[in-house]
């Protein structure tokens, strides 16, 4: 029986239920010291003096470290981020000093005893302030920072700018047969809030550094820590226990170098765990964003031109945002056929805590903006919303914003599937409530990236899978990939032993995120199995007295083609190999094929086209209470493009979880700053994550068969469920209230404000002339894009 497509249980569930799973936060080595961080209490200041004399002499203290102990800067696009504030404080909560002591209480007491004297600077707490004429530069030395990736345009408070120019947008807007629709949108921050906080224990072993960390990306932690500590990357070993939730927050190096510097200084193991208030105030939030969209559309529903400006608040340091600016081209430009398009996506520095990856990064707010805009377009041209989408979504052979060619008709048939799922009878609101419903589309792109895997075939008939894949809860590493390996080797998934991620044991991997895990690590694992199977066939051929090419490796047995009675087991082959060829193992690797885009259309993008598009159609019915502003979800439905479902039940679990996380984003998860620039929400009392009573069971249809280069046609399924939720909710609230819904979250007070009537959002820091928003002279971008005409894709 094939294991592919069956609802196999999770191997790690029982330990997790019995409380036996030991996450990084639960582990303790002998002689471990505990660490605390002294943080900045202003959003912007010059550091006059930091005196650690008293702290150093306090009971139990073994190490006190600050900027001088870890010079250098790190980042993704630009190395702009020091480990500790170096002369200047750029956000409230920025680390100044770290202490390691015998007990956590001693470390906290010593951190509090550090004398810090600062001189305040004017803080830019909003992108509006950072982009204002004459605004203070948060990084006056920006031009001198090392660029880690070429091709980005940046200046002053603009950490990174990515642009797309395809076709003659100006000419299209000037046509006399089009309707022009223009909107501004704003989306708030969202805290990933995994239940396991960031936690790391660091120690030295034979002059090498070992980090046991709660991370999604062991190789990024290894390389980032080595860079900051001036070590050879291979001298840093990262091992990763089960991770108690990540959602993107643990995708980049974060607290690990601080633990490492302390361990090196103290010459003892050091454990650093962030407190819940630290996690709530300094999470690597999903960035708040300001968006402007303008479209020229014919009465027939043809989008002849679209312009977009997307401002992403990266906080005090760029972090992952220079990379994430890339996503706008795909999340805004990969859903609908666009005649001509120009887009700007900018990461903007502010004096706030840095932001970064969060499940369907960038896509959640761009999909919200795009779908609300689309509904306004429909109103403007007088076309039914579903009819418009049916006509305008990408079809086989259409091109995306950067000229990438799409294969297959996917969104159209998915809209048909949603119509079936929805049925005819709408849910009923309570008397007095306002009813709204919306169906929205969304597009996500998987950047597959490189991955490596090793499979050891054991003489007892099992196989050990070694990868840098981390189990963050999604089930990719502990559920889907072992299923793929089991299928390939003809053994039961329980006979696949999964090695915990360890950079000393496994080859490079880009990290667990973006929907790439099952695709990339899965493909590498299957390649490793193929390598092993070639060896298995040789040994089996020897045992069965047949030619290797006649050997069939089937479920539970290895036999000679056409003679099923002549068969042996994998255990027999592996045991025989031990004494003849040597033990059997296979290695495999995988990376994206590099999908072509139109030359010259995209600038500042780290990826011009992405290998695997993933589509989703969501439908939401809701009721708005006009007296309280409360939004109640009545029904929620999802049709999700999964390529091929390896474990359908596990995917449904991901969809339910992602939708509920999206409901929190759309309706109540709110991040605000007090006047000092500190995040006001310090715990679950004030930061309202969804509770059981807020949720509805989601009706789900998995859409299989869309083209994918993933193994067996699989696509990542865990990233995308959150993508369309804010869009669906906002469009439904707009229908229910008849108001212009241009901001999320739609908290009860905000919904009441909408009902009372409020002005439409206008961004002062976005100019309505697209060309005036861009750093590079627009003529250069237009020349590079070959306007006019734009080159035909090759």
């Amino acid at each position: 029986m094939s294991t592919i497509g069956s609802d196999l249980p999770r191997r790690d569930a029982e330990d997790k239920l019995r409380g036996r799973t030991r996450f990084a936060v639960d582990r303790q080595r002998h002689g471990t010291l505990h660490a605390a961080i002294r943080r900045a209490d202003r959003a912007a200041a010059r550091i006059v003096r930091i005196d650690v004399t008293a702290a150093r002499s306090m009971a139990g203290v073994h190490a006190v470290v600050s900027a001088a102990d870890a010079p250098g800067r790190y980042g993704i696009g630009v190395a702009d981020h020091p480990l500790f504030a170096d002369g200047v404080i750029r956000y409230h909560g920025e680390p100044l000093v770290a202490v390691a002591a015998e007990t956590l209480a001693q470390a906290e007491a010593a951190a509090a005893a550090v004398v810090v004297q600062t001189e305040p600077l004017p803080a830019n707490l909003t992108m509006d302030q950072s982009l204002a004429e004459g605004a203070r530069e948060i990084h006056p030395d920006w031009a001198r920072y090392e660029e880690l990736v070429e091709g980005g345009t940046r200046a002053g408070n603009i950490a990174w700018e990515a642009t797309v120019v395809r076709g003659d947008t100006a000419a299209a807007f000037a046509r006399d047969d089009v309707v022009v629709v223009e909107n501004c949108f704003r989306a708030g921050r969202q805290n990933q809030a995994p239940l396991e906080p960031r936690a790391c224990t660091a120690w030295l072993e034979h002059d090498r550094l070992v980090l046991e960390s709660s991370t999604q990306n062991p190789w990024a932690v290894r390389n980032g820590t080595a860079r900051l500590l001036g070590m050879r990357p291979s001298d840093v070993r990262v091992i990763v226990p089960p991770v108690g939730g990540g959602f993107g927050m643990k995708f980049e190096v974060s607290i690990e170098p601080i633990a490492a510097v302390l361990a090196r200084t103290a010459d003892r193991p050091v454990k650093l765990v962030l407190s819940r208030p630290e996690e709530m105030r300094l999470a690597l939030f999903r960035e708040n964003a300001d968006i402007w969209l303008r479209s020229a559309v014919t009465r027939d529903g043809e989008i002849v031109a679209r312009e977009a400006v997307v401002l992403m608040d990266c906080g005090a340091y760029g972090g992952e945002q220079p990379f994430l600016t890339t996503m706008t081209a795909h999340t805004l430009g990969g859903n609908y056929r666009l005649g001509a398009v120009r887009m700007i996506s900018r990461a903007v520095y502010t004096n706030t805590a840095p932001t970064g990856a969060f499940r369907a990064c960038n896509g959640t707010y761009n999909t919200f903006a795009l779908e609300r805009h689309t509904d306004d377009v429909c109103t403007a041209i007088g076309m039914d919303r579903e009819e418009f989408r049916r006509r305008a979504v990408l079809r086989d052979g259409d091109i995306g914003a950067t000229g990438q060619v799409f294969e297959g008709d996917v969104l159209g048939p998915m809209l048909d599937r949603m119509r079936e799922l929805r049925g005819i009878e709408p849910r009923r609101p309570r008397p007095g409530e306002l009813y709204g419903r919306a169906t929205v589309v969304g597009t996500w792109f998987i950047f597959v990236g490189p991955a490596a895997a090793t499979v050891n075939v054991n003489p007892d008939g099992t196989a050990t899978l070694v990868t840098a894949g981390v189990e963050i809860g999604s089930g990719s590493t502990m559920q889907a990939i072992p299923q793929l390996v089991a299928e390939s080797l003809g053994i039961h998934p329980r006979d696949v032993v999964v090695r915990e991620a360890d950079t000393d044991a496994a080859g490079f991997d880009l990290g667990v995120g973006g929907g790439r895990t099952t695709v990339s690590l899965g493909a590498a694992s299957i390649a490793a199995c193929d390598d092993a199977k070639a060896k298995i066939a040789k040994v089996a051929a020897d045992l069965l007295e047949a030619a290797p090419e006649d050997i069939v490796i089937g479920p539970g047995a290895i036999s000679v083609a056409g003679v099923p009675s002549r068969s042996i087991t994998l255990a027999q082959v592996a045991a025989h190999a031990q004494t003849t060829t040597g033990p059997i193992s296979g290695s495999g690797s995988f990376t994206g094929r590099g999908t072509p885009s139109m030359p010259g259309c995209a600038a500042g993008h780290m990826i011009d086209a992405i290998d695997i598009p993933v589509f989703a159609v969501h439908d939401c019915e809701l009721a708005v209470d006009p007296d309280t502003g409360q939004v109640r979800v009545l029904a929620y439905r999802v049709v999700q493009d999964v390529g091929r479902a390896i474990n359908p039940r596990a995917i449904r679990g991901q969809i339910q979880g992602g939708v509920v996380q999206g409901l929190g984003y759309a309706l109540h998860e709110t991040v605000t700053f007090d006047e000092a620039g500190q995040v006001a929400q310090s715990g679950f009392e004030t930061y309202r994550v969804p509770l059981a009573g807020d949720t509805v069971p989601v009706d789900i249809a998995l859409f299989e068969g869309a083209p994918s280069l993933g193994p067996l046609g699989v696509k990542g399924a865990g990233e995308i469920p959150i993508l369309n939720v804010a869009a669906a909710v906002a469009c439904a609230v707009a229908e229910a209230t008849g108001r212009q819904v241009d901001q999320i979250p739609l908290t009860p007070p905000w919904v009441l404000t909408l009902l009372d009537g409020t002005d439409q959002l206008r961004h002062r820091h976005i100019t309505r002339d697209w060309r005036a928003n861009v750093l590079t002279p627009p003529e250069l971008l237009e020349a590079a894009a070959g306007i006019r005409p734009c080159p035909i894709p090759r």
């Binding site: 609802d7 790690d12 409380g19 239940l195 679950f684 994550v689 969804p690 509770l691 059981a692």
Partner: protein, 185 residues
């Protein structure tokens, strides 16, 4: 001196130290998860004299002489999973796993007080248990499935008179503590 999972334990900690911290740091019982430290998330629930309480809010000085039971003892090693755990496992509810020890203790306590809950009863009860991964639907379904399984075990006589009985759980320790239990507030 406290009684933890049936054994007397001598703990050297200041009396205001939270029970959660003592369990994790002094007794290596890390199945009790410390997530919010404010009593909102339910990850650190333990049974104190048979009642589910957030261990992060209980000073260890107040539990002297009381009976503490952690997730490690809800189903001791070697014994089959309890009804709630079984249902959570069978429905593939578990994702990252951080909330599930607390979920198990919370739902087990709820089913003792209310053996025949509705889905709304379960959702209301879970207001003190945060899960960031699953979106709760399978947890609610699992609680209802566990309730049905437990009613089945108790047999038709109980169902006929409808009286809540607390022999619902199968382990000897469950039967040992018979105080009425309410939901976590």
């Amino acid at each position: 001196m406290l009684t933890v999972n049936g054994a007397a334990r001598l703990v050297d900690a200041p009396p205001m130290t939270s029970l959660a911290s003592v369990l994790r740091e002094n007794l290596a019982l890390t199945g009790t998860k410390l997530v919010c430290g404010e009593g909102f998330c339910g990850a650190c629930l333990v049974e104190l004299d048979g009642e589910a309480v957030p261990a992060c809010l209980v000073p260890v000085g107040l539990v002297e002489g009381h009976d503490v039971r952690t997730i490690e003892a809800v189903t001791p090693r070697g014994e089959p999973l309890g009804a709630v755990q079984r249902a959570l496992k069978d429905s593939d509810a578990v994702q990252c796993g951080m909330c599930f020890p607390g979920m198990t203790i919370s739902l087990t306590a709820m089913l003792r007080a209310n053996p025949d809950p509705t889905a709304d009863d379960v959702r209301d009860h879970l207001s003190g248990n945060i899960c960031r991964c699953t979106g709760y639907a399978r947890i609610v379904e699992s609680a209802l499935a566990a309730a049905a399984a437990l009613r089945e075990i108790r047999g038709p006589r109980d169902r006929a008179n409808g009286a809540p009985r607390d022999q619902a759980s199968r382990t000897p320790r469950d039967r040992a503590s018979r105080a009425p239990r309410g939901p976590v507030s």
